[in-house]
Symmetry: C2
């Protein structure tokens, strides 16, 4: 419950232009090079700010990095959540999310790359809290509305909603990486061929087909219907 803050008070008081410049330059470099390869001096120069000032804002490079990650995931959540309507049905919501992910892969790819970067932070330090901060929202949102869908009979009644929310999020998260991060892009190409990136509809159609069956058809139902 620490709820640690990853910036000094000076950063709160800083002029918005400086705050933005610093965050933008940080997100840019960290998403391009990763935490350790990115260079603080370069970032400061790109932000049009002295290194000294940067260290008045943040205790360490790591703290600065985490602040950038927080900003990036906040932005990402806004983009993604912005497109779904709270009373959409599961499959409608899924479709909107898939399309939003495909759209995000261009200009906003740096936010996704940063998100991917934290995926491998280790060494107990802030892993737990960071995960909670980044995944917390989708975890509860997905679980809640899948639970609701189950109660209202929209989807199968025999599923563990927490687990199904996890599978749902897994597919969408990986999809996001698959459209933006080098390794995941190559992986998707290996499975589906180069042209998968030119045919967004194929992905939408097939993933929806997959999700629809997974979420709506119960073994028992089908057996009963077959007599």
């Amino acid at each position: 419950m620490g709820e640690r803050v990853y910036h000094k008070e000076a950063f709160d008081r800083a002029k918005p232009e400086y705050r933005n410049a610093v965050l933008t330059a940080g997100i840019d470099e960290f998403s391009k090079l990763g935490l350790e390869k990115a260079n603080i001096n370069v970032i400061a120069k790109k932000a049009g700010v002295s290194v000294g000032l940067l260290y008045k804002y943040f205790e360490t490079k790591e703290d600065f990095f985490i602040t950038c990650v927080e900003e990036a995931t906040k932005t990402l959540e806004e983009i993604i959540d912005g497109v779904v309507n709270s009373d959409d049905k599961l499959l409608v919501r899924a479709e909107k999310l898939i399309r939003a992910i495909q759209a995000t892969s261009g200009a906003d790819s740096k936010y996704v790359k940063l998100y991917n970067e934290i995926t491998r932070i280790s060494g107990n330090d802030g892993a737990e809290e960071l995960a909670a901060k980044v995944e917390g929202l989708s975890a509860t949102t997905y679980r809640n509305f899948i639970e609701a869908a189950r109660k209202s009979g929209d989807i199968r009644s025999d599923c563990d909603t927490a687990m199904f929310a996890f599978f749902f999020d897994t597919l969408l998260m990986t999809l996001q990486f698959s459209y933006t991060c080098d390794y995941y892009r190559e992986r998707l190409k290996l499975f589906c061929g180069e042209d998968i990136f030119d045919d967004d509809e194929r992905m939408v159609k097939e993933l929806l087909k997959f999700l629809e069956s997974a979420f709506t058809f119960e073994h028992a139902d089908v057996k009963r219907l077959e007599r």
Copy 2:
């Protein structure tokens, strides 16, 4: 087509004890600390070998790292593939894979961590080739047997087998990370609670339920059965 080799000839000629010691120490450190934080001098010491010799075996730290990754994924593939039988049906195969993944999360976690580590290498260098090397096998294996299952009527006939193989692999790959890598573990806990790691059966049951429906039930079939 490049098929680059990531070690010098001296490494092929090296005594097996040295080769093993070097690879073991490398896998150990790289999986614990990641490519850039791991220290070559420390690795050499742990392997009981001089730095100079290490650099007779490998051109650069990166080359050494990639060789370790190759070794790790080879081992991982052997562990995982060892449990499935070539004529298992899709769901049987899935169940065996899930259980193998759960079992691997203990002692062999370092191989998974290394695998996770390459997931975010970028900068065109070897991303493409590396992905092909690591994912190539599962990509073709999965696609082939899902294709076969479709032809023999074991699973739905209306699916794009390449895409469905991709979804299948996505779920299993992420599951692997979720049992071993810090961030992914936290994420799984957020969705399903602390005790998910004490109840392996819950995961097996729910994921199989999810996969069974996704792979076997066609929308058209269900509609027809409902009249």
